[in-house]
Symmetry: D2
Subunit: 227 residues, 4 copies
Amino acid sequence: MTQSLPLAIVAGAGPGLGNTLLSRFKDRGYQVVGLNRSLPSKTDFDIRVVDLTDEQATNAVIASLIKEYGAPKVVIHNTAQLVIKPLAETTAGDFEACWRSMALSAFVLAKSLMQPMVDNGGGTFIVSGATASLRGSAKFSAFSSAKFALRGLTQSLAREFQPQGVHVVHSILDGIIDTDNSRSLHSMDPDKMMKPEDIAAVYFGLCEQPRSTWTHECDLRPFDGSF
Amino acid sequence: MTQSLPLAIVAGAGPGLGNTLLSRFKDRGYQVVGLNRSLPSKTDFDIRVVDLTDEQATNAVIASLIKEYGAPKVVIHNTAQLVIKPLAETTAGDFEACWRSMALSAFVLAKSLMQPMVDNGGGTFIVSGATASLRGSAKFSAFSSAKFALRGLTQSLAREFQPQGVHVVHSILDGIIDTDNSRSLHSMDPDKMMKPEDIAAVYFGLCEQPRSTWTHECDLRPFDGSF
Amino acid sequence: MTQSLPLAIVAGAGPGLGNTLLSRFKDRGYQVVGLNRSLPSKTDFDIRVVDLTDEQATNAVIASLIKEYGAPKVVIHNTAQLVIKPLAETTAGDFEACWRSMALSAFVLAKSLMQPMVDNGGGTFIVSGATASLRGSAKFSAFSSAKFALRGLTQSLAREFQPQGVHVVHSILDGIIDTDNSRSLHSMDPDKMMKPEDIAAVYFGLCEQPRSTWTHECDLRPFDGSF
Amino acid sequence: MTQSLPLAIVAGAGPGLGNTLLSRFKDRGYQVVGLNRSLPSKTDFDIRVVDLTDEQATNAVIASLIKEYGAPKVVIHNTAQLVIKPLAETTAGDFEACWRSMALSAFVLAKSLMQPMVDNGGGTFIVSGATASLRGSAKFSAFSSAKFALRGLTQSLAREFQPQGVHVVHSILDGIIDTDNSRSLHSMDPDKMMKPEDIAAVYFGLCEQPRSTWTHECDLRPFDGSF
C-alpha cells in the first residue's frame, strides 16, 4: 500500500460530471478511482466496474482499493437514473430501479466506507441531489421518491458520522448539467446549463472546508434558472 | 356489486392505529376492508392478507374489492417497519425492507387504485408519515430514508392526481402512538402519547375536506411533545 | 362577566374570510368578537376597532373583552396587507407596513392573550399564512418577508405555549380566497378559488383537535391548484 | 473615482466576523469598507457609521461609496441583534428592534445597492442567517421572527436579481462563532465553535462561484454540532 496521494472515489463515473470530477481531483493531487456499472466507452481514468447495489461485490472492490491506496479522503456519490412518466406508465420495476440506483447504492457505498474513513482520520462524503430531492412533481413519482430517500439517508449519515470526523454533504444540483447528452436532449441555451467543471470546483471546495464550518446542504443552479 | 356504502381501505390493518381507523370509518358509514401482510390474531374486520410489494397479488385483491364494492372513496396507507440501528448494524436487507414496507407498498397500492378512484369521481388517499419523514437522524438511516421516499412519492401523487379529483395527504405523526405495544416498549407517560382514536378523527376530517380546501401535508403531535 | 359561551376572537374581521369565520364560530356556539383597523361598512358582528400594532390600545381592548367574556378559547389572526412590486418600487414604508400588519400585530395580540389563555385552561391560536410564507418570490420582497416573520413567530409561540395548553397553528392558505374582491381582481374560474366557508370549517376542526393530536402546520389549497 | 480594486462592503463590521470578513477580502485584493451603527473601539478598516434602517442616511453613504469606488462586487449583510426571552418578557420594542436590525436593514441596503450592482455587471450579495432562520423556538419569538423575515426577503431578492446577474446567498450559521465575546458568554469548548476566518473563507468562495453554479442557500456548522 502506497499512501503518497490521498484517494478520491467517484461513484457514477461515466462521461459528464463523473469524468470531470475525476479530472478535477486528479489535478489537485488526488489518486482518483471511478466506480461504474459498466466501463465507459472512453475514459482516461481507473474505473472499476461494480454494481453498487451488490453488497458483496462492492465490499470486495472497496477492500481492494483500501489495500492499494488506504481509506479514501473523498467519496462522491453521483449515480443517477432518470424516469419521467405518469404513474400509469411507471412500473414497480422503474420505481425500484430508481431507488436501487440512487438510494441503495449510496447506502451500500457508505456502509463499506464510513468506518474505514473514520479510522483513517476522517474525510468527505458528498452526495448529488436534484430539484426532485426537495419537491415531488407529477411524472416524477419514481425519481423524486428515490431522490428523497437519498436525502433522508444522507441526513442520517451526517448526524451519525460528522461527530466522528466524516463531513457528509447533500448537494442539490437544481438544473441541467451541460453534457453532450443534455445538449442533444434539450433545446435549452447551453449558457443556462450547469458546467461540470464548475460543479467539480464547488465539490472540491466542500472537501476543503475546515471542520469548524462544514456545509451539510447547499443548492447549485445556473444564474438564470427560475427556481 | 353493491354500492350502498362507500368503501374505505386501510393498508396496515394490525392492532393499534390500523384497527382504530377501520372502526372509525365503519362507524361513520363506510364499508371497511383492511389489507395486511398477515392475519391479526384478533380483529372484528374484513382483513385481506396480501403482500403490498407484490404487484400481481395486490392488483388481484384490489380488483376483487372493486368488483364487490366499487372503487374506494378512502384509502389509508399506514404500514410501518421500524429499524433503529447504527449504520454498522443496519444491513442492506434492513434498508430494503424498510423501503419495501413503506415506500414500494404505497407505490403499488397507488398504482392499483388511483385510476379507478379517478374514474369513480375521486376520493382521498392518506399516507402516514413520521418525524423521520422530515429529518434524518443518527441510527435512522433505513427508516428515515424510507419515510423520505414515501413523502417524495406522496407529493408526486398529489401533483398528478389532485387535479383529477383524488385528494392526496401526507400526514406526519410526530409522536408515539398509544398502543399496548408502545406502552410495553416505552416508559413514557401515556398522557403524552397520541391516541389512535384522535388520529382517526383527524383522518376522517381530512376525508371530509371540500375540494376548495384540500390539505396536502399536516403534522400531528401531542401537546407536550418537544418538537 | 358572563361565561355562558366560549369566546372566539377574529383579528382581521373585514368582509371575506374574517366575516365568515365569525359566522361559523357563532353558529357553533361561540361568543364572537372581531378586531379590525376600521369598522367594516356592513357587518352583523361585534367589531372592535383597534390598531393591533399599538400595544396599549390592544391591551385595553383585550382586557375589556376578557372582563366581559373571560379569556378566549379561540383566537384567529387573519390580517393581511398585500404588496406586489419589484424591489425598486417597494418603499421602506411598504416593507414596514406589511410587517406591522401581519407580524407585529400577531406578536402584540399573542402577548396580550397567551397568558390569560394559559390561566384559563388553554385554547387555540390560529394564524393564517400564505404561499409566500414558505417561498420568497420576485416582487414579493415585502409580503414574503412579513409572512416568513409571522411563521417564525408562530413556531416560537407553539414551542413555548403548547406545553402550557395553548394549541398554536400556522395554516397556509395556498390559493386565492373566493370573495367579491377576488372575483373583481382575478379572472380566475371561481371553482378554483378557496371558499371562505370551507376554510372556516377547517379552522373550526383545528380548534376541536384533542390535545393528543395537535396540528401545528397544515396547508390548504384548491384541488386544481398547481403547487 | 478609481476602479483599481473591486469594492466589498460588509454591513455589521464590528469585532468578530465582520472584522474578519473585511480582513479576508482585503487580503484577496478587494477595497473593503465596513458599515456599522457605531465606530468599533478598535479597527484597521474604513468603517462608515450609518443606521441601515434610515433610508436617507444609507442612500447617502452608498452613493458616496459608489462615487469613490464604483458599485460593489461584494456585499455582505451580517448585522445581528440577539434577544432570548420568554414571550412575557419580550417587549414590542424588542420584537421591532430585532426586525429593524436584521430584516429592515437588509431591505434598505439591498434597495440602495441592487440596481447599481446590476448596472455594473453583477456581483454577490450574501446574508448571514442562523439556526433560528429555519426553526422558531421557545424564547426566540423576536429573534426567529426577524431571521425568518430576512430569509423570505433574501429568497425574493434571489428570484428577482439572479437573472439580472447578482448572486444572492442566504448562509445559515448554525453554531456559535468563536469570538472573545462568545468565549466569555459560553462555557463551550472553543473547538466546537465556528472560526470567523473559516466562515470568511466560505463566503469568499461563494463570491467566486461562476454563474453556472450559484448556491442560494447553504448551512455551516462545526463538525461536532448536534443539528
